[in-house]
Symmetry: C2
């Protein structure tokens, strides 16, 4: 069956990765004191784009790079248990979540899947700048995230690799 | 003020990263057809541990690496719009989300923050194996994720770098 071997290449690559594994004994703290909230987009290399390495940062990713309830939960845990002192919220240019309205996306998924998708929710971003301001505001004003934690909002340009601070 | 320069080192590192940026013009599809749901833990290098590179995979991360509603939304979009054909759900050993009960975590955050945290929710994982089976089940049975999409569940060992397929 196709699905029995669907992951063979990735598992083989993992065996090679483990051969030179160097993080044994690390704990889960953010060594650089950094947490990143960003999009699931495949063009984003959250550690690389900030000059960081594995062990340095807690990384929360969802469609659009939004500060959702789950992101806030992650940040509260990060700040109090895992050495997070700085939070970067990083949506990006040419994001699929900004290119359609929710009804358009429901129509599109219905068309592509052949299954009626009008019951489903897609958290599209109508105004990315405004969403970013609101998202940074949620972190800065959260009652369980102390004022000593720095939070800033950036847009990542997927065509230049540059971060542009906006908030 | 401290916070004015709180991100200077990371922004300087980003300028260096952009100097040798090679992904210009890439679109947001998953070049290797892969989506990964994993934990925000700093020890996890989702691309590296699978032998992948930027551009290859959509990566969704939250505390515990759970298949939440937002993760399912991400996967539906990934499958229909972004070339995802294989989904890996990857929680890990020594995860902070598996080490305390929710009341204990509320007490702990209350103690560390000095603010009453008993109103807040933390999605602890009581039984990681069971949670993984349920999470893979959610992907496999989701009405908007077709049967042709392969989904498997793994535990990542943060001390060896090895993935162990469980589902």
């Amino acid at each position: 069956m196709a699905s029995e071997h669907a992951f063979d290449d990735l598992i083989a690559a993992n065996r090679k990765f483990a051969d030179s594994f160097a993080l044994k004994g690390f704990d889960g703290v953010a060594a650089a004191g950094v947490a990143i909230v960003t999009c699931m987009d495949s063009r984003i290399d959250p550690l690389g784009m900030l000059g960081l390495k594995p062990g340095d940062a807690k990384i929360f990713r969802n469609p659009g790079g939004r500060v959702s309830e789950a992101a806030l939960e992650a940040l509260v845990l990060g700040v109090h248990l895992l050495n997070v002192r700085r939070v970067l919220v990083i949506p990006h240019t040419r994001c699929a979540m900004t290119s359609m309205t929710e009804p358009q996306l429901r129509d599109k998924i219905t068309e592509l899947s052949g299954v009626d998708a009008h019951w489903s929710h897609f958290h599209v971003v109508e105004d990315q700048e405004r969403a970013l301001r609101e998202d940074v505001g949620k972190v800065r004003s959260h009652p369980l995230i102390p004022a000593r934690v720095d939070c800033a909002g950036f847009i990542y340009d997927v065509d230049t690799g540059l971060l542009d601070r906006r908030v």
